[in-house]
Structure formats: C-alpha cells, structure tokens
Symmetry: C2
Subunit: 164 residues, 2 copies
DNA sequence: GCTAGCATGTAAACGGTTACATGATTAG
DNA sequence: CTAATCATGTAACCGTTTACATGCTAGC
C-alpha cells in the first residue's frame, strides 16, 4: 500500500521524500502513521527497480532534497496496479481506499468502473457471511451494526457513481 | 492483531490450530485471509513465551491435533492488552474492531468503557483533519463521504453504549 | 481412484517498526 | 540558546506472505 501511495502522489507531480510523507500522512496517517524507516527504504527499492528517478536539489532550508519523479515504467506500473487490484485490495477496506484515492489516474472510464464494480460485488456478497452471525456478545453486535452501516453507505455511493 | 485474536478465542475455550484458524477467519477473514504461515509460527512463539500450553490429542479424523489452552500468564496478557490498547489499536479501525471483538472478556465495566471513550475521543477529533479536506477528485470525495458515514454510525453506537 | 476437508508445519523473501544517527535553519 | 521543523537515512528485530511439504479419512 505504501508503494501505491508513493506512485500515486508522484503521478501528480515530482516531490521530495519529506513532502511525500506529509501527503501520505494526510491521506491515511490518521489511522496508521507512516514511519521514515518504511518510507525511505521503499523509495530506494522503487528507484532500484527503475520506477522512480531522483535528483538532488538544494533544500528550501536544511538538508539537500532528493526530488523524486515517476519514470515511464513507474507510471505504467501505477496504471497496471490500479487497473488490476489484487483480491485483498478489493476486500480490505483500508487497501481499497488507497486504490480509490488514485483511481482517477486511470484514463478509461470503463477501467475505473470495472474496479468499482468488483468492490460492489464483494460488498453485495455480504462480507462472505460476516453479516449474519448471530452474536450474544454486545460488543460484537456493535461491530456488526457499524460494519453494516459502513457497507450500506459505500454501496449507495458506488451505485450512484456507476449509474452516472 | 493475530496474537490478540489467538489469545481472545482461547480465552473462551481450548482449541486446536485448525479450529482457531476457522474462527479468526469468520471474525475478520473476509477482508484479510489468515495464512497457515502466520498462524502456526505465532502459536509457537506464544507457547515459547509461556502464554499458551499445548497437548496432543487424537484428531477427529486425519492428523493429530495440538489442543491449545491459555495459561494464567496468557490470560493476564490478554486482559492487559484489552485494558491498555496501543494508540494504533485505537485509531486503526481494523485493529480496533479486533479489540472490540474481545472487549467483553474485560471483567470491569469501567475498564471496558474507558476503551470505548478513547475510541470516541479519537473519532470526535475528526480523524485529525481528515474530514475537512476539500477534494475536487470525485473518488476522494467518495472516500470522505463513506468515511463520514462510518464514523457517524460508530459514534452513535459508542454513545448509546456509554450512556447505558 | 480422486477430491475435499482435516491437520500441522517449515523456509525464503520481503517489508514494516523502532530506535538510532545526523545536521541545517528559523522562530521565539 | 533552544525547540521546532525541515530533511534523509541506516540497522536490528520482528512478523507476514508465499510457496513448499506431508499425510490421513470420508464420500463420490
């Protein structure tokens, strides 16, 4: 997911690591903070794979910035990942929201809608039996109540987008 | 999170690994499947730490079962984790729902309510600015719409439980 | 005879967390 | 002069994923 966020934000404009971290944090850092120890190694790996290029630039203040830019291969990889999300990127809400955050980068409406339809189908399958557990435990009942409300809101939004 | 689920289900009754996997799957496997490669090593680690004991039992069919049981130390660790969830167990919905699934194991109402109040305070802080991003991107708008609906439903449930 | 389900594990590769490490600039 | 913010990284540890590996029993 970190990789998808990096590719996604860099598809908008070149950024240095610190700024990238700020954007990722704004997008999903409220739930799970991004640590430098995961971000910088991820940048290094993506650069080694040829998906990113980096060039040094004098910092606005402080240390030298490494400005990161998507390569053609990087952009192709981003589009491929958005077009063909894995099963857990469809089923795991956290992962799906990351896909959704960058879905507008996919140029074809049909491709974008195909992804939304996969998510809708997953939700309509009812979390694979998750929703009709009968629970005596009041806290698990609460979990189900909340999950049902979220699912309902999301299905309504997905249908409204798919129906244009 | 896996560890919390293992301790939580074993607090209800002794189980063997295969049955434990089935229960974890029912609880949260719809989003993220549990793999044997994470479950069995986790069981081994917990046994080495003295939180679990295992004894062999003839299988109902097939291979020998390793029946797992919580030790006193294991039960104490479960209660400690439920009483004092980490910050990310409060902020990350997936992790919080795992805590919630076993919260009824905490004997004191005051302890359980303290956990719920921490979650409510986090949600009322508005996802730390997450909710008032103005987004032109329609998919990110959708994300916000869904997130707001979920948050609202969860806050309503939390308040109803806390108000008795 | 074969497939599905029961049942438990190991090994390699990969990625994330935490702590450590450095150093400049700006505002109070 | 000191804290906050800007800015980038490394190293050890730990856990997860994926693939591999085995073997029994019941039903078709």
């Amino acid at each position: 997911m970190l990789v998808l966020s990096i590719l996604g934000f860099l598809a908008e404009e070149p950024l240095h690591g610190y700024e990238l971290r700020a954007r990722i944090h704004q997008l999903s850092g409220h739930a799970r903070p991004v640590s430098d120890g995961s971000l910088y190694p991820a940048i290094t790996r993506l650069t080694e794979k040829g998906l990113l290029s980096r060039r040094a630039e004098p910092g606005s203040s402080a240390a030298q910035r490494q400005v990161l830019e998507l390569t053609e291969a990087g952009r192709a990889e981003l589009l491929r990942r958005l077009r063909e999300p894995t099963d857990t990127e469809i089923s795991d809400s956290t992962q799906f929201f990351t896909v959704l955050a960058f879905l507008s980068k996919l140029p074809e409406l049909a491709d974008r809608n195909a992804v939304l339809r996969r998510r809708l189908a997953f939700l309509e399958a009812g979390g694979r039996g998750f929703f009709h557990q009968e629970q005596a435990d009041p806290y698990r009942q609460g979990m189900l109540t909340i999950a049902k409300a979220s699912s309902k809101a999301e299905r309504a939004w997905l249908r409204s987008v798919l129906d244009n």
